[in-house]
Amino acid sequence: MPNAAGVGHPPSARRLVSRLSVMARSSSPARLVVALSVAAVLAVFLLYTSLAGGGTPSVSPSELAAKTGEVSLAGRVVGTPTGDAHGAGLKFVLEDIKGANKQRVTVVYKGSVPDLFRVGRDVVVTGTQRADGTFVTKPGSMITKCPSKYQAAKT
Amino acid sequence: MLGAALAVAVVVVVALPFLREPTPDSDALHELDAAERERLEAEEARDRALAALKELEADHRAGRISDEDYRAVVGVLRRDAAEALRELDRVRAMPRGGTRTESAKSA
């Protein structure tokens, strides 16, 4: 956990608190505490997101070509899946869910396959695209979208 | 049909206050005037001060607060409570509907 007192040898707790208490009596310590805390939270937050990244970009098959690195690919399952997800890998084709210019990409997936996975369902997988165009996924990264429990699909 | 009956029923319910008192003595909403509001706030301040004292005593008895910490705080709390009681007495003694200028009141 970050040390709020900063670098150097930390003063004894007593001196620190009494010093802050003097500050407290003169101004509003509540505001000081709040301001310091907000600054600390922001600092931690910015540090984390700059190191770990703000998230994986979510793309559709047609946008895949423009991206390198790990992405979250969202698409609709078309064709017939082949292979074994717990063996050499489940191979299926994903197509853009929306848009006029639909493209397809072949995905090789290993790991748990959600029950809802079937042809025609929208799924999201995380992974990277190989040089030969196939999309290789992180094991177990498939999420399917529940067929609307709440609203019939408006096509 | 049932819908119409429901509509009639709710209209009656909504109009009820007017139907019951077609010509009331006063249609004014009883709002707290300044004096009543002050009294309410003074009472709340008194309750707060007394509750704080009571809690300090209970904490001290249960051993959560040491003797020296108790001594350090009890004077302040007793003073607050006395002040709150004085303020309440003053507000109660005031004539109804009187106004006064705002000045620093006890918290």
Binding site: V17 | L2, V73
Partner: protein
């Protein structure tokens, strides 16, 4: 029947609009009869909504498939209980449930407060009416449950994942929670609108807030239990936007519950409190919006629907309104009371609040970032689990520690020496526990170890509080231990009920830490007779069974379980294939160990044609503490909610003049 339902909703819309407009006029102009009329309208709106709800329930029970909603979510073969719960299985029905709870709460709130806070209620009525207008408009004009179609022979049936007791209770409890936050919000706005900045709005809504907060908490635990047992991926919380949607208002409400205590004792933090309660309510609206509008893709994702923009507008109105009212009343809200010391109970509550709000906002950011990113940069992103786990630890672990510190620090200012004395024994217990745990191998996960150590600290402080309080009482009254104990709790329900709630949170923390930081997993494909070993257990796949049930075909793989040479019986895992709904669901096998609270969790991931099955098997230590925590949580809340006759009498005397003393005739 559909016409009656539609008419009833139109009537509700009319009544809510009247409550809003006439109520505001009555409050602004000071008209008593108009105010009563507006209040009656608000109460009547509950009954008209009830009629609409009854029509829908009747539609389900009579298999009236001419109602599009019934056809879409029910079928002839559906069991009775699920025909009832299908009411909230879809968007229109859920909105109707929201409105029903809202109008019900509104009616109760204005009725109960009429004696003590009459001048406050006149402003609360239009606020509650305004919220009801929003929802009833959605039901009348945008998304009606009473659309009719030519009746098909049979309905589509209910999604199989909703066909279990959890999904009957979970949405109802969540709504009792979400909507419940509207009441303290309305009273806070009422106080701001009327300029009555005394404590009455807080006193009037204290129990409402606790009930809503408890319902929201229990609802989430039920949802987590459902996810654990029914969805069965091995976890109970996926940081899915819809899950976060319920967690965020709950965190804000937790912060509010605590900071309100400071206002009660010291009269401080008034601005903060009205801001928090507004934040909690706006987050609950936002949560409903997230769940209904499909704006954020999630496992629960719903297709984009027409109500999205309306909801967003609704939230914007609520936010703008709250901010404006707080801004306008800022001078009256400020007090002279100051935080005297950074080492005091007020300060600890402040730290608690800051941590809770920080956690809430980081979750909000993680949930909303995909939408914002897409709108601003044209590129959608997905925020993963590590983000949430990181911030949960950074903010959650200090919060855990503070739960033990806060109750023992004195108000106004506490000396460090005094604190050292008070915390010596619990700190020693915690340190000893930490060392013992390291010896048992808990050092494999530092956050887990910290969570356990802090939990030991908090439990020690709670035990100390109960024992010290009982001892002090006995010293005074000479009662026996059980009598002193029960009298102690009875006389200080809020304090000791609060301790029980804290204990439940600690149990939750231990359960979460155990099952996530110290779990084990193994997976592999097994043919008949083969085994897998994990966490001390050995499981051997015996055979596959297939059975035809009421609306599904049940396939189960049967495994023998052994541990350390002893046979522990069999466990079954497999899948259900639903005929009407054309879906397959995962049916996991769970074996809970009564003694250690750990679960053996078996998933039959893939059943192959040759009879081999790919299994994924978890051992989750202490996971059952999470569900136990739910029970303790409810117990603690009930204790804090229990009416206190002396307190009621005191408040009655205090507020006697504010009640309806100008009654000449009964004007209710």
């Amino acid at each position: 029947m559909a016409e009656l339902g539609r008419a009833a909703l139109v009537i509700t819309l009319g009544l809510s609009a009247y409550a809003l407009v006439a109520g505001a006029a009555a409050a602004a102009l000071g008209r008593r009869r108009l105010a009563l009329s507006a209040r009656n309208a608000l109460i009547a709106s509950f009954f008209s909504t009830l009629v609409a709800a009854a029509v829908l329930v009747a539609g389900f029970l009579r298999d009236d498939f001419s109602l599009a909603y019934v056809a879409g979510h029910s079928s002839r073969a559906l069991p009775f209980a699920y025909k009832l719960s299908a009411f909230w299985g879809g968007q229109e029905g859920s909105l109707l449930l929201w409105l029903l709870v809202l109008t019900g709460y509104s009616a109760l709130a204005v009725w109960f407060a009429r004696k003590r806070a009459r001048d406050l209620v006149v402003w609360v009525t239009p606020v509650l009416g305004g919220i009801a207008v929003g929802f009833s408009w959605l039901l009348v004009g945008v998304s009606s449950p009473f659309d009719t179609i030519p009746a098909p022979a049979d309905g589509n049936g209910l999604n199989p994942s909703l066909q279990n007791p959890y999904m009957v209770a979970h949405p109802v409890l969540l709504y009792l929670g979400y909507v419940g936050l509207a009441v303290p919000f309305a009273f806070a706005m009422g106080a701001l609108l009327s300029g009555r900045m005394d404590e009455r709005w807080i006193v009037a809504t204290r129990r409402w807030t606790i009930v809503a907060w408890t319902a929201l908490g229990v609802g989430q635990l039920l949802g987590a239990h459902w996810a654990y047992q029914e969805v069965g991926w091995g976890g109970y919380y996926a940081w899915d936007p819809v899950e976060n949607a319920a967690l965020m208002p709950w965190l804000a409400a937790t912060a509010y519950l605590h900071s309100v205590m400071i206002q009660e004792k010291r009269g401080m933090l008034r601005v903060w409190n009205v801001t928090l309660v507004s934040l909690a309510f706006c987050l609950s609206l936002f949560g409903t919006f997230l769940t209904r509008s499909g704006v954020v893709s999630s496992i629960h994702s719903f297709t984009q629907s027409a109500i999205g923009p309306w909801f967003l507008a609704f939230i914007v109105v609520a936010v703008v309104f709250s901010v404006t009212m707080i801004w306008l009343r800022l001078p009256q809200l400020r007090t002279t009371a100051r935080l005297e010391s950074l080492v005091s109970r007020e300060a600890t509550f402040l730290y608690n609040n800051l941590l809770l709000v920080a956690l809430c906002l980081t979750i909000l950011w993680g949930t909303a970032w995909p939408i914002v990113s897409e709108a601003v940069r044209g590129e959608a992103v997905v925020v993963g689990r590590p983000y949430y786990d990181f911030f949960l630890r950074i903010f959650g672990l200090p919060l855990l520690l503070l739960m033990g510190i806060g109750p023992l620090v004195a108000w106004r200012r506490a000396s460090l020496r005094g604190l050292a004395r008070v915390f010596a024994w619990p700190a020693a217990v915690a340190a000893a526990t930490g060392v013992a745990l390291i010896a048992f191998g808990a050092g494999s996960s530092i956050p887990g170890l910290i969570a356990y150590t802090f939990s030991a600290f908090v439990l020690a402080t709670i035990a100390l509080e109960f024992s010290r309080g009982t001892a002090a009482r006995r010293a005074l009254t000479g009662e026996s231990v059980p009598t002193a104990f029960s009298r102690l709790v009875g006389r200080n329900r809020r304090r000791y009920g609060g301790y029980v709630v804290h204990a439940s949170v600690v149990l939750l923390a231990i359960g979460v830490a155990g099952s996530s930081a110290y779990d084990s997993v193994v997976e592999g494909k097994l043919a008949r007779g083969e085994s897998l070993a994990v966490g001390g257990y050995t499981l051997t796949y015996r055979n596959l069974t297939e059975k035809d049930a009421a609306n599904a075909t049940e396939i189960r793989a049967v495994l023998d379980v052994r541990r350390g040479g002893d046979s522990l019986g069999t466990i079954k895992a497999g899948k259900n294939a639903y005929s009407v709904e054309q879906q397959v669901s995962n049916e996991v096998g769970i074996r809970s160990d009564k003694l250690t609270g750990e679960d053996l969790f078996v998933i039959a991931e893939q059943v192959n044609d040759d009879g081999t099955v790919f299994f994924r098997i978890f051992v989750k230590p202490l996971v059952n503490l999470i569900w136990l925590a739910g029970l303790v949580f409810v117990l603690g809340s009930v204790i804090t909610l229990w009416p206190d006759a002396r307190e009621e009498r005191r408040l009655a005397t205090r507020y006697a003049t504010v009640g309806e003393r100008r009654e000449r005739t009964a004007t209710t």
